[in-house]
Symmetry: C2
Subunit: 288 residues, 2 copies
Protein backbone atom coordinates (compact mmCIF):
# COMPACT_ATOMS: atom_id res chain seq x y z
CA UNK A 1 0.00 0.00 0.00
CA UNK A 2 2.79 2.41 0.91
CA UNK A 3 4.55 1.47 -2.33
CA UNK A 4 1.40 2.28 -4.34
CA UNK A 5 1.04 5.72 -2.73
CA UNK A 6 4.72 6.43 -3.41
CA UNK A 7 4.29 5.50 -7.09
CA UNK A 8 1.24 7.74 -7.36
CA UNK A 9 3.24 10.64 -5.92
CA UNK A 10 6.11 10.04 -8.35
CA UNK A 11 3.66 9.86 -11.27
CA UNK A 12 2.05 13.11 -10.12
CA UNK A 13 5.43 14.87 -9.99
CA UNK A 14 6.45 13.53 -13.41
CA UNK A 15 3.33 14.94 -15.08
CA UNK A 16 3.49 18.31 -13.37
CA UNK A 17 0.41 17.70 -11.27
CA UNK A 18 -1.89 16.80 -14.15
CA UNK A 19 -1.98 13.21 -12.97
CA UNK A 20 -3.64 14.28 -9.71
CA UNK A 21 -6.31 16.26 -11.53
CA UNK A 22 -6.91 13.38 -13.92
CA UNK A 23 -7.25 10.98 -11.00
CA UNK A 24 -9.85 13.22 -9.38
CA UNK A 25 -11.99 14.19 -12.39
CA UNK A 26 -10.90 12.04 -15.33
CA UNK A 27 -10.23 15.18 -17.38
CA UNK A 28 -6.80 16.39 -18.51
CA UNK A 29 -6.48 20.11 -17.71
CA UNK A 30 -4.75 21.29 -20.90
CA UNK A 31 -7.71 23.05 -22.53
CA UNK A 32 -7.09 25.70 -25.21
CA UNK A 33 -9.56 28.06 -26.93
CA UNK A 34 -10.99 26.56 -30.12
CA UNK A 35 -9.80 27.96 -33.46
CA UNK A 36 -13.50 28.42 -34.37
CA UNK A 37 -14.16 30.87 -31.52
CA UNK A 38 -15.37 34.39 -32.06
CA UNK A 39 -12.52 36.96 -31.91
CA UNK A 40 -11.04 37.21 -28.42
CA UNK A 41 -13.27 34.58 -26.77
CA UNK A 42 -11.65 32.24 -24.22
CA UNK A 43 -14.40 29.59 -24.51
CA UNK A 44 -15.29 27.08 -25.92
CA UNK A 45 -12.07 25.14 -25.36
CA UNK A 46 -10.70 21.73 -26.40
CA UNK A 47 -8.18 19.54 -24.57
CA UNK A 48 -5.68 16.93 -25.76
CA UNK A 49 -8.29 14.19 -25.32
CA UNK A 50 -10.68 16.01 -27.68
CA UNK A 51 -13.06 17.00 -24.88
CA UNK A 52 -15.07 20.17 -25.56
CA UNK A 53 -15.51 22.54 -22.59
CA UNK A 54 -18.00 25.40 -22.71
CA UNK A 55 -18.72 28.27 -20.33
CA UNK A 56 -21.69 30.62 -20.26
CA UNK A 57 -23.14 33.09 -17.76
CA UNK A 58 -26.75 32.20 -16.91
CA UNK A 59 -27.24 33.20 -13.26
CA UNK A 60 -30.98 32.42 -13.11
CA UNK A 61 -30.97 29.12 -15.06
CA UNK A 62 -32.09 25.84 -13.49
CA UNK A 63 -29.82 23.80 -15.76
CA UNK A 64 -27.50 24.28 -18.73
CA UNK A 65 -26.23 21.51 -20.99
CA UNK A 66 -23.67 21.12 -23.77
CA UNK A 67 -25.33 19.25 -26.67
CA UNK A 68 -22.71 17.67 -28.98
CA UNK A 69 -22.50 14.40 -30.89
CA UNK A 70 -26.14 13.54 -30.04
CA UNK A 71 -25.33 13.57 -26.27
CA UNK A 72 -26.22 16.24 -23.68
CA UNK A 73 -23.69 16.94 -20.91
CA UNK A 74 -24.75 18.72 -17.70
CA UNK A 75 -22.77 21.85 -16.80
CA UNK A 76 -22.05 23.04 -13.25
CA UNK A 77 -22.79 26.53 -11.91
CA UNK A 78 -20.14 28.55 -10.09
CA UNK A 79 -20.57 31.28 -7.46
CA UNK A 80 -20.72 34.02 -10.12
CA UNK A 81 -23.58 32.37 -12.03
CA UNK A 82 -21.46 30.93 -14.86
CA UNK A 83 -22.02 27.38 -16.04
CA UNK A 84 -19.11 25.21 -17.17
CA UNK A 85 -18.53 21.61 -18.15
CA UNK A 86 -17.15 19.36 -20.83
CA UNK A 87 -18.03 16.54 -23.16
CA UNK A 88 -16.57 13.07 -23.54
CA UNK A 89 -13.64 12.95 -26.02
CA UNK A 90 -14.76 13.79 -29.58
CA UNK A 91 -13.33 12.66 -32.91
CA UNK A 92 -10.75 14.91 -34.58
CA UNK A 93 -11.99 17.72 -36.79
CA UNK A 94 -15.10 19.87 -37.05
CA UNK A 95 -18.25 19.31 -34.94
CA UNK A 96 -21.60 21.08 -34.75
CA UNK A 97 -22.92 21.69 -31.22
CA UNK A 98 -25.42 23.79 -29.27
CA UNK A 99 -26.32 24.75 -25.72
CA UNK A 100 -29.51 23.80 -23.88
CA UNK A 101 -30.58 26.47 -21.34
CA UNK A 102 -33.67 25.43 -19.35
CA UNK A 103 -34.97 23.56 -22.40
CA UNK A 104 -34.04 26.17 -25.04
CA UNK A 105 -31.66 24.94 -27.77
CA UNK A 106 -29.49 27.93 -28.68
CA UNK A 107 -26.13 28.69 -30.27
CA UNK A 108 -23.16 29.33 -27.98
CA UNK A 109 -22.60 33.13 -28.02
CA UNK A 110 -18.82 32.53 -28.05
CA UNK A 111 -18.39 30.40 -31.17
CA UNK A 112 -18.46 31.22 -34.85
CA UNK A 113 -21.55 29.99 -36.71
CA UNK A 114 -21.76 27.45 -39.54
CA UNK A 115 -24.58 26.02 -41.63
CA UNK A 116 -25.19 22.36 -40.83
CA UNK A 117 -28.03 20.13 -39.62
CA UNK A 118 -30.37 22.45 -41.55
CA UNK A 119 -29.55 25.59 -39.57
CA UNK A 120 -26.83 28.11 -38.69
CA UNK A 121 -25.36 27.14 -35.34
CA UNK A 122 -22.21 26.69 -33.28
CA UNK A 123 -19.18 24.76 -34.44
CA UNK A 124 -15.90 23.70 -32.89
CA UNK A 125 -12.60 22.35 -34.20
CA UNK A 126 -10.99 19.44 -32.39
CA UNK A 127 -7.35 19.73 -33.52
CA UNK A 128 -6.53 16.96 -35.97
CA UNK A 129 -3.28 15.14 -36.67
CA UNK A 130 -3.36 16.50 -40.22
CA UNK A 131 -4.35 20.07 -39.34
CA UNK A 132 -1.38 21.49 -41.28
CA UNK A 133 -3.19 20.27 -44.39
CA UNK A 134 -5.94 22.92 -43.95
CA UNK A 135 -4.08 25.57 -41.92
CA UNK A 136 -4.05 29.25 -42.93
CA UNK A 137 -0.46 29.80 -44.13
CA UNK A 138 1.57 32.56 -45.72
CA UNK A 139 1.38 31.11 -49.24
CA UNK A 140 -0.20 32.62 -52.37
CA UNK A 141 -3.97 32.64 -51.80
CA UNK A 142 -6.78 32.19 -54.26
CA UNK A 143 -10.14 33.90 -53.86
CA UNK A 144 -13.57 32.63 -52.80
CA UNK A 145 -16.15 34.55 -54.83
CA UNK A 146 -19.81 34.91 -53.94
CA UNK A 147 -21.61 34.54 -57.27
CA UNK A 148 -25.30 35.45 -57.56
CA UNK A 149 -27.05 34.19 -60.70
CA UNK A 150 -30.53 33.77 -62.11
CA UNK A 151 -31.71 30.21 -62.64
CA UNK A 152 -33.90 30.10 -65.76
CA UNK A 153 -35.08 26.57 -65.02
CA UNK A 154 -36.38 27.60 -61.55
CA UNK A 155 -37.12 31.29 -62.23
CA UNK A 156 -35.24 32.19 -59.07
CA UNK A 157 -32.05 33.90 -57.96
CA UNK A 158 -29.47 31.47 -56.60
CA UNK A 159 -26.01 31.76 -55.09
CA UNK A 160 -22.83 29.73 -55.29
CA UNK A 161 -19.25 30.21 -54.13
CA UNK A 162 -16.42 29.86 -56.64
CA UNK A 163 -12.80 29.25 -55.68
CA UNK A 164 -10.35 30.69 -58.19
CA UNK A 165 -6.74 29.59 -57.64
CA UNK A 166 -3.76 31.94 -56.96
CA UNK A 167 -2.72 33.70 -60.17
CA UNK A 168 -6.15 33.39 -61.81
CA UNK A 169 -6.30 37.17 -62.48
CA UNK A 170 -2.69 37.46 -63.66
CA UNK A 171 -2.90 35.63 -67.02
CA UNK A 172 -6.17 36.41 -68.86
CA UNK A 173 -5.49 33.68 -71.45
CA UNK A 174 -5.06 30.72 -69.09
CA UNK A 175 -8.00 28.32 -68.71
CA UNK A 176 -8.63 25.89 -65.84
CA UNK A 177 -10.37 22.58 -65.11
CA UNK A 178 -13.45 22.80 -62.87
CA UNK A 179 -14.48 20.71 -59.87
CA UNK A 180 -18.15 20.84 -58.80
CA UNK A 181 -17.92 20.18 -55.06
CA UNK A 182 -21.09 19.37 -53.12
CA UNK A 183 -21.83 19.64 -49.39
CA UNK A 184 -23.42 16.97 -47.18
CA UNK A 185 -27.04 16.62 -46.06
CA UNK A 186 -28.34 19.57 -44.01
CA UNK A 187 -25.44 21.76 -45.22
CA UNK A 188 -25.40 24.38 -47.99
CA UNK A 189 -23.19 26.27 -50.45
CA UNK A 190 -21.19 27.89 -47.61
CA UNK A 191 -19.98 24.63 -46.05
CA UNK A 192 -16.97 23.70 -48.15
CA UNK A 193 -15.21 27.02 -47.59
CA UNK A 194 -16.41 27.84 -44.03
CA UNK A 195 -16.10 24.54 -42.18
CA UNK A 196 -14.43 22.53 -44.97
CA UNK A 197 -11.65 25.06 -45.66
CA UNK A 198 -11.54 23.90 -49.30
CA UNK A 199 -9.81 27.15 -50.33
CA UNK A 200 -7.03 26.82 -47.74
CA UNK A 201 -6.49 23.15 -48.63
CA UNK A 202 -6.14 24.08 -52.31
CA UNK A 203 -3.86 27.07 -51.58
CA UNK A 204 -1.57 24.77 -49.55
CA UNK A 205 -1.57 21.92 -52.10
CA UNK A 206 -0.83 24.30 -54.98
CA UNK A 207 1.97 26.03 -53.00
CA UNK A 208 3.56 22.63 -52.33
CA UNK A 209 3.28 21.63 -55.99
CA UNK A 210 0.97 18.75 -55.05
CA UNK A 211 -1.97 19.93 -57.18
CA UNK A 212 -2.44 21.72 -60.48
CA UNK A 213 -4.60 24.85 -60.07
CA UNK A 214 -8.30 24.43 -60.82
CA UNK A 215 -11.59 26.20 -60.22
CA UNK A 216 -14.01 24.84 -57.58
CA UNK A 217 -17.75 25.56 -57.74
CA UNK A 218 -19.69 25.12 -54.50
CA UNK A 219 -23.47 25.33 -55.01
CA UNK A 220 -26.50 24.29 -52.99
CA UNK A 221 -27.73 20.79 -53.83
CA UNK A 222 -30.55 20.70 -51.30
CA UNK A 223 -33.78 20.08 -53.12
CA UNK A 224 -37.38 19.75 -52.05
CA UNK A 225 -39.44 16.90 -53.36
CA UNK A 226 -42.47 17.74 -55.51
CA UNK A 227 -45.55 18.69 -53.44
CA UNK A 228 -47.36 15.35 -53.80
CA UNK A 229 -44.52 13.55 -52.03
CA UNK A 230 -43.90 16.15 -49.37
CA UNK A 231 -47.57 16.22 -48.42
CA UNK A 232 -47.82 12.47 -47.97
CA UNK A 233 -48.46 11.79 -44.27
CA UNK A 234 -45.93 9.80 -42.29
CA UNK A 235 -48.35 6.84 -42.12
CA UNK A 236 -48.31 6.62 -45.91
CA UNK A 237 -44.54 6.72 -46.08
CA UNK A 238 -44.32 3.89 -43.58
CA UNK A 239 -46.89 1.87 -45.48
CA UNK A 240 -45.35 -1.15 -47.15
CA UNK A 241 -47.29 -0.38 -50.36
CA UNK A 242 -44.44 2.00 -51.26
CA UNK A 243 -40.81 0.95 -51.47
CA UNK A 244 -38.87 2.72 -48.69
CA UNK A 245 -35.53 3.59 -50.25
CA UNK A 246 -33.16 6.45 -49.45
CA UNK A 247 -32.85 8.75 -51.24
CA UNK A 248 -36.41 8.50 -52.60
CA UNK A 249 -36.72 8.20 -56.36
CA UNK A 250 -36.49 11.56 -58.14
CA UNK A 251 -35.04 13.35 -55.14
CA UNK A 252 -31.88 14.57 -56.91
CA UNK A 253 -33.54 15.36 -60.26
CA UNK A 254 -34.21 19.01 -59.43
CA UNK A 255 -30.60 19.79 -58.64
CA UNK A 256 -29.32 17.76 -61.62
CA UNK A 257 -31.50 19.82 -63.97
CA UNK A 258 -30.29 23.10 -62.43
CA UNK A 259 -26.68 21.93 -62.54
CA UNK A 260 -26.85 20.97 -66.23
CA UNK A 261 -29.07 23.82 -67.49
CA UNK A 262 -28.03 26.75 -65.26
CA UNK A 263 -24.90 26.27 -63.17
CA UNK A 264 -22.44 24.69 -65.63
CA UNK A 265 -23.34 27.10 -68.50
CA UNK A 266 -23.14 30.09 -66.12
CA UNK A 267 -19.71 29.02 -64.85
CA UNK A 268 -18.41 28.36 -68.38
CA UNK A 269 -19.67 31.81 -69.45
CA UNK A 270 -18.23 33.74 -66.51
CA UNK A 271 -14.99 31.93 -65.64
CA UNK A 272 -12.03 30.86 -67.79
CA UNK A 273 -12.85 27.15 -67.73
CA UNK A 274 -11.71 24.29 -69.92
CA UNK A 275 -15.33 23.72 -70.93
CA UNK A 276 -15.31 20.07 -71.90
CA UNK A 277 -16.15 16.83 -70.06
CA UNK A 278 -12.46 15.85 -69.77
CA UNK A 279 -11.80 18.92 -67.56
CA UNK A 280 -15.00 18.82 -65.49
CA UNK A 281 -15.33 16.72 -62.35
CA UNK A 282 -17.77 16.30 -59.51
CA UNK A 283 -17.16 15.25 -55.91
CA UNK A 284 -18.93 15.65 -52.63
CA UNK A 285 -19.56 14.77 -49.03
CA UNK A 286 -22.40 12.43 -48.06
CA UNK A 287 -25.34 13.60 -50.21
CA UNK A 288 -22.93 15.50 -52.54
CA UNK B 1 -72.48 55.59 -25.41
CA UNK B 2 -74.47 53.40 -27.79
CA UNK B 3 -73.19 55.56 -30.66
CA UNK B 4 -69.58 55.05 -29.55
CA UNK B 5 -69.98 51.28 -29.42
CA UNK B 6 -71.58 51.31 -32.87
CA UNK B 7 -68.65 53.31 -34.27
CA UNK B 8 -66.16 50.89 -32.70
CA UNK B 9 -67.99 47.98 -34.34
CA UNK B 10 -67.98 49.72 -37.72
CA UNK B 11 -64.25 50.49 -37.37
CA UNK B 12 -63.57 46.86 -36.43
CA UNK B 13 -65.46 45.64 -39.52
CA UNK B 14 -63.67 48.10 -41.82
CA UNK B 15 -60.22 46.91 -40.71
CA UNK B 16 -61.13 43.23 -40.87
CA UNK B 17 -60.95 42.76 -37.13
CA UNK B 18 -57.49 44.23 -36.64
CA UNK B 19 -58.94 47.24 -34.87
CA UNK B 20 -60.25 45.03 -32.07
CA UNK B 21 -56.90 43.38 -31.57
CA UNK B 22 -55.17 46.77 -31.56
CA UNK B 23 -57.64 48.07 -28.96
CA UNK B 24 -56.92 45.08 -26.73
CA UNK B 25 -53.12 44.84 -26.99
CA UNK B 26 -51.84 47.95 -28.76
CA UNK B 27 -50.14 45.73 -31.36
CA UNK B 28 -51.17 45.47 -35.03
CA UNK B 29 -51.41 41.80 -35.99
CA UNK B 30 -49.79 41.92 -39.42
CA UNK B 31 -46.46 40.31 -38.56
CA UNK B 32 -44.35 38.75 -41.31
CA UNK B 33 -41.14 36.67 -41.06
CA UNK B 34 -38.01 38.84 -41.24
CA UNK B 35 -35.94 38.73 -44.43
CA UNK B 36 -32.90 38.02 -42.19
CA UNK B 37 -34.33 34.74 -40.87
CA UNK B 38 -32.63 31.41 -41.30
CA UNK B 39 -34.08 29.40 -44.21
CA UNK B 40 -37.66 28.33 -43.53
CA UNK B 41 -38.00 29.94 -40.08
CA UNK B 42 -41.33 31.61 -39.22
CA UNK B 43 -39.82 33.76 -36.43
CA UNK B 44 -38.58 36.43 -35.74
CA UNK B 45 -41.29 38.56 -37.36
CA UNK B 46 -41.82 42.28 -37.95
CA UNK B 47 -45.15 44.16 -38.24
CA UNK B 48 -46.13 47.37 -40.04
CA UNK B 49 -45.30 49.41 -36.95
CA UNK B 50 -41.74 48.06 -36.92
CA UNK B 51 -42.29 45.90 -33.85
CA UNK B 52 -40.05 42.82 -33.62
CA UNK B 53 -41.72 39.62 -32.37
CA UNK B 54 -39.65 36.60 -31.37
CA UNK B 55 -40.65 33.07 -30.37
CA UNK B 56 -38.53 30.38 -28.74
CA UNK B 57 -39.20 27.08 -26.99
CA UNK B 58 -37.79 27.11 -23.44
CA UNK B 59 -40.17 24.97 -21.36
CA UNK B 60 -38.12 25.10 -18.14
CA UNK B 61 -37.13 28.80 -18.19
CA UNK B 62 -38.18 31.23 -15.47
CA UNK B 63 -38.10 34.19 -17.87
CA UNK B 64 -37.14 34.99 -21.45
CA UNK B 65 -36.57 38.49 -22.83
CA UNK B 66 -36.04 40.08 -26.24
CA UNK B 67 -33.07 42.48 -25.98
CA UNK B 68 -33.11 45.06 -28.80
CA UNK B 69 -32.24 48.75 -29.01
CA UNK B 70 -30.83 48.75 -25.46
CA UNK B 71 -34.24 47.68 -24.02
CA UNK B 72 -35.30 44.26 -22.72
CA UNK B 73 -38.89 43.14 -23.38
CA UNK B 74 -40.46 40.33 -21.33
CA UNK B 75 -41.89 37.42 -23.31
CA UNK B 76 -44.91 35.30 -22.29
CA UNK B 77 -44.96 31.52 -22.06
CA UNK B 78 -47.69 29.45 -23.73
CA UNK B 79 -49.05 26.04 -22.76
CA UNK B 80 -46.49 24.23 -24.96
CA UNK B 81 -43.50 25.93 -23.28
CA UNK B 82 -42.81 28.47 -26.06
CA UNK B 83 -42.10 32.09 -25.17
CA UNK B 84 -43.32 34.92 -27.40
CA UNK B 85 -43.48 38.70 -27.28
CA UNK B 86 -42.59 41.83 -29.15
CA UNK B 87 -40.65 45.07 -28.88
CA UNK B 88 -41.79 48.66 -29.17
CA UNK B 89 -41.67 49.96 -32.77
CA UNK B 90 -38.10 50.11 -34.12
CA UNK B 91 -36.54 52.40 -36.72
CA UNK B 92 -36.50 51.19 -40.33
CA UNK B 93 -33.59 49.04 -41.45
CA UNK B 94 -31.15 46.63 -39.82
CA UNK B 95 -30.96 46.01 -36.05
CA UNK B 96 -28.78 43.79 -33.87
CA UNK B 97 -30.63 41.93 -31.09
CA UNK B 98 -30.29 39.00 -28.71
CA UNK B 99 -32.35 36.86 -26.35
CA UNK B 100 -31.98 36.69 -22.57
CA UNK B 101 -32.89 33.26 -21.17
CA UNK B 102 -32.70 33.16 -17.36
CA UNK B 103 -29.83 35.65 -17.43
CA UNK B 104 -27.95 34.13 -20.41
CA UNK B 105 -27.48 36.48 -23.39
CA UNK B 106 -27.64 34.29 -26.48
CA UNK B 107 -28.33 34.57 -30.21
CA UNK B 108 -31.81 33.73 -31.46
CA UNK B 109 -31.56 30.26 -33.06
CA UNK B 110 -33.92 31.41 -35.84
CA UNK B 111 -32.08 34.44 -37.25
CA UNK B 112 -29.06 34.77 -39.46
CA UNK B 113 -25.92 36.04 -37.71
CA UNK B 114 -23.99 39.25 -38.32
CA UNK B 115 -20.87 40.80 -36.84
CA UNK B 116 -21.66 43.92 -34.81
CA UNK B 117 -21.22 45.20 -31.26
CA UNK B 118 -17.94 43.25 -31.22
CA UNK B 119 -19.49 39.82 -31.73
CA UNK B 120 -21.44 37.60 -34.12
CA UNK B 121 -25.10 37.70 -33.12
CA UNK B 122 -28.68 37.98 -34.29
CA UNK B 123 -29.93 40.61 -36.72
CA UNK B 124 -33.30 41.63 -38.09
CA UNK B 125 -34.51 43.80 -40.98
CA UNK B 126 -37.35 46.22 -40.31
CA UNK B 127 -38.65 46.86 -43.86
CA UNK B 128 -37.67 50.34 -44.99
CA UNK B 129 -39.40 52.78 -47.35
CA UNK B 130 -36.38 52.58 -49.66
CA UNK B 131 -35.91 48.80 -49.49
CA UNK B 132 -36.00 48.52 -53.29
CA UNK B 133 -32.65 50.33 -53.23
CA UNK B 134 -30.91 47.30 -51.67
CA UNK B 135 -33.21 44.46 -52.79
CA UNK B 136 -31.89 41.33 -54.51
CA UNK B 137 -33.07 41.72 -58.12
CA UNK B 138 -32.66 39.92 -61.43
CA UNK B 139 -30.01 42.33 -62.76
CA UNK B 140 -26.38 41.61 -63.73
CA UNK B 141 -24.53 40.85 -60.49
CA UNK B 142 -20.97 41.60 -59.51
CA UNK B 143 -18.97 39.36 -57.20
CA UNK B 144 -17.89 39.70 -53.57
CA UNK B 145 -14.44 38.12 -53.28
CA UNK B 146 -12.85 36.95 -50.05
CA UNK B 147 -9.21 38.04 -50.37
CA UNK B 148 -6.59 36.71 -47.93
CA UNK B 149 -3.27 38.59 -47.91
CA UNK B 150 -0.10 38.86 -45.86
CA UNK B 151 0.46 42.21 -44.14
CA UNK B 152 4.21 42.94 -44.12
CA UNK B 153 3.82 45.85 -41.71
CA UNK B 154 2.07 43.63 -39.13
CA UNK B 155 3.62 40.25 -40.05
CA UNK B 156 0.17 38.72 -40.04
CA UNK B 157 -2.39 37.24 -42.44
CA UNK B 158 -5.41 39.50 -42.95
CA UNK B 159 -8.65 39.30 -44.89
CA UNK B 160 -10.75 41.77 -46.85
CA UNK B 161 -13.76 41.51 -49.16
CA UNK B 162 -13.58 43.03 -52.63
CA UNK B 163 -16.64 43.87 -54.72
CA UNK B 164 -15.95 43.66 -58.45
CA UNK B 165 -18.76 45.08 -60.62
CA UNK B 166 -20.74 43.11 -63.26
CA UNK B 167 -18.62 42.60 -66.39
CA UNK B 168 -15.30 42.86 -64.53
CA UNK B 169 -14.11 39.51 -65.93
CA UNK B 170 -15.35 40.14 -69.48
CA UNK B 171 -12.90 42.85 -70.60
CA UNK B 172 -9.35 42.18 -69.33
CA UNK B 173 -8.17 45.63 -70.44
CA UNK B 174 -10.71 47.76 -68.55
CA UNK B 175 -9.59 49.47 -65.32
CA UNK B 176 -11.80 50.77 -62.52
CA UNK B 177 -11.81 53.41 -59.77
CA UNK B 178 -11.64 52.03 -56.20
CA UNK B 179 -13.67 52.92 -53.10
CA UNK B 180 -12.23 51.91 -49.71
CA UNK B 181 -15.39 51.43 -47.63
CA UNK B 182 -15.09 51.11 -43.85
CA UNK B 183 -17.48 49.61 -41.31
CA UNK B 184 -18.65 51.18 -38.04
CA UNK B 185 -17.37 50.62 -34.50
CA UNK B 186 -17.72 47.03 -33.28
CA UNK B 187 -18.20 45.77 -36.85
CA UNK B 188 -15.67 44.17 -39.20
CA UNK B 189 -14.82 43.49 -42.86
CA UNK B 190 -17.99 41.40 -43.33
CA UNK B 191 -20.46 44.18 -42.43
CA UNK B 192 -20.78 46.16 -45.65
CA UNK B 193 -21.79 43.13 -47.72
CA UNK B 194 -23.69 41.09 -45.07
CA UNK B 195 -25.84 43.67 -43.29
CA UNK B 196 -25.01 46.68 -45.50
CA UNK B 197 -25.78 44.93 -48.82
CA UNK B 198 -23.19 47.14 -50.55
CA UNK B 199 -22.94 44.68 -53.45
CA UNK B 200 -26.71 44.61 -54.10
CA UNK B 201 -26.89 48.43 -53.89
CA UNK B 202 -24.11 48.73 -56.47
CA UNK B 203 -25.60 46.03 -58.76
CA UNK B 204 -28.94 47.93 -58.72
CA UNK B 205 -27.38 51.40 -59.25
CA UNK B 206 -25.23 50.15 -62.14
CA UNK B 207 -28.22 48.35 -63.75
CA UNK B 208 -30.25 51.58 -63.58
CA UNK B 209 -27.38 53.60 -65.07
CA UNK B 210 -27.14 55.66 -61.87
CA UNK B 211 -23.51 54.75 -61.11
CA UNK B 212 -20.38 54.00 -63.11
CA UNK B 213 -18.91 50.61 -62.17
CA UNK B 214 -16.13 50.67 -59.57
CA UNK B 215 -14.31 48.31 -57.22
CA UNK B 216 -15.10 48.41 -53.48
CA UNK B 217 -12.58 47.22 -50.87
CA UNK B 218 -13.99 46.33 -47.44
CA UNK B 219 -11.24 45.72 -44.87
CA UNK B 220 -11.12 45.62 -41.07
CA UNK B 221 -10.26 48.99 -39.51
CA UNK B 222 -10.54 47.87 -35.89
CA UNK B 223 -7.25 48.53 -34.18
CA UNK B 224 -5.96 47.99 -30.68
CA UNK B 225 -4.12 50.80 -28.95
CA UNK B 226 -0.49 50.26 -27.99
CA UNK B 227 -0.11 48.34 -24.71
CA UNK B 228 0.76 51.35 -22.54
CA UNK B 229 -2.60 52.95 -23.30
CA UNK B 230 -4.71 49.83 -23.04
CA UNK B 231 -3.19 48.96 -19.65
CA UNK B 232 -3.90 52.39 -18.13
CA UNK B 233 -6.49 51.89 -15.38
CA UNK B 234 -9.85 53.59 -15.68
CA UNK B 235 -8.92 56.01 -12.87
CA UNK B 236 -6.02 57.32 -14.95
CA UNK B 237 -8.20 57.80 -18.00
CA UNK B 238 -10.69 59.78 -15.95
CA UNK B 239 -7.92 61.91 -14.47
CA UNK B 240 -8.04 65.47 -15.79
CA UNK B 241 -4.24 65.41 -16.32
CA UNK B 242 -4.99 63.77 -19.68
CA UNK B 243 -7.24 65.27 -22.31
CA UNK B 244 -10.31 63.02 -22.73
CA UNK B 245 -10.96 63.02 -26.45
CA UNK B 246 -12.57 60.37 -28.64
CA UNK B 247 -11.00 58.76 -30.49
CA UNK B 248 -7.83 58.93 -28.39
CA UNK B 249 -4.75 60.28 -30.14
CA UNK B 250 -2.95 57.68 -32.26
CA UNK B 251 -5.91 55.29 -32.28
CA UNK B 252 -6.27 55.15 -36.09
CA UNK B 253 -2.54 55.19 -36.89
CA UNK B 254 -2.21 51.39 -36.99
CA UNK B 255 -4.91 50.96 -39.62
CA UNK B 256 -3.70 53.97 -41.64
CA UNK B 257 -0.22 52.41 -41.86
CA UNK B 258 -1.65 49.05 -42.96
CA UNK B 259 -3.95 50.74 -45.47
CA UNK B 260 -1.12 52.73 -47.08
CA UNK B 261 1.64 50.10 -46.91
CA UNK B 262 -0.27 46.83 -47.38
CA UNK B 263 -3.88 47.12 -48.52
CA UNK B 264 -3.72 49.73 -51.31
CA UNK B 265 -0.57 48.22 -52.93
CA UNK B 266 -2.08 44.70 -52.67
CA UNK B 267 -5.32 45.84 -54.33
CA UNK B 268 -3.47 47.73 -57.07
CA UNK B 269 -1.35 44.63 -57.73
CA UNK B 270 -4.22 42.13 -57.83
CA UNK B 271 -7.15 44.05 -59.31
CA UNK B 272 -7.45 46.18 -62.47
CA UNK B 273 -7.56 49.52 -60.67
CA UNK B 274 -6.98 53.05 -61.90
CA UNK B 275 -4.08 53.34 -59.45
CA UNK B 276 -3.90 57.08 -58.88
CA UNK B 277 -5.31 59.43 -56.22
CA UNK B 278 -7.96 60.82 -58.62
CA UNK B 279 -9.60 57.36 -58.86
CA UNK B 280 -9.25 56.34 -55.22
CA UNK B 281 -11.83 57.31 -52.60
CA UNK B 282 -12.62 56.45 -49.00
CA UNK B 283 -15.94 56.44 -47.17
CA UNK B 284 -17.35 54.80 -44.11
CA UNK B 285 -19.90 54.43 -41.40
CA UNK B 286 -19.28 55.90 -37.94
CA UNK B 287 -15.64 54.99 -37.17
CA UNK B 288 -15.01 54.31 -40.90
Amino acid sequence: MKKQILMLLIAAMMTGGNFTILAQTGVIEDFQPSSANQPGKEYPQVNSEGRVRVKISAPDAKYVQLDIGAVKYDLTKDAEGSWMGESAPQDEGFHYYQLNIDGASVPDPNSLYFYGAGRWGSGIEVPAGDQEFYALKNVPHGQVREQIYFSESNSTLRRCFVYTPPGYDQDPEKRYPVLYLQHGGGEDETGWSNQGKANLIMDNLIAEGRSVPFIIVMDNGTWRMPERDRQAPRETAQNEDRPRTWPPQGWADGFMKTLLEDIIPMIDNNYRTLADPQHRAMAGLSMG
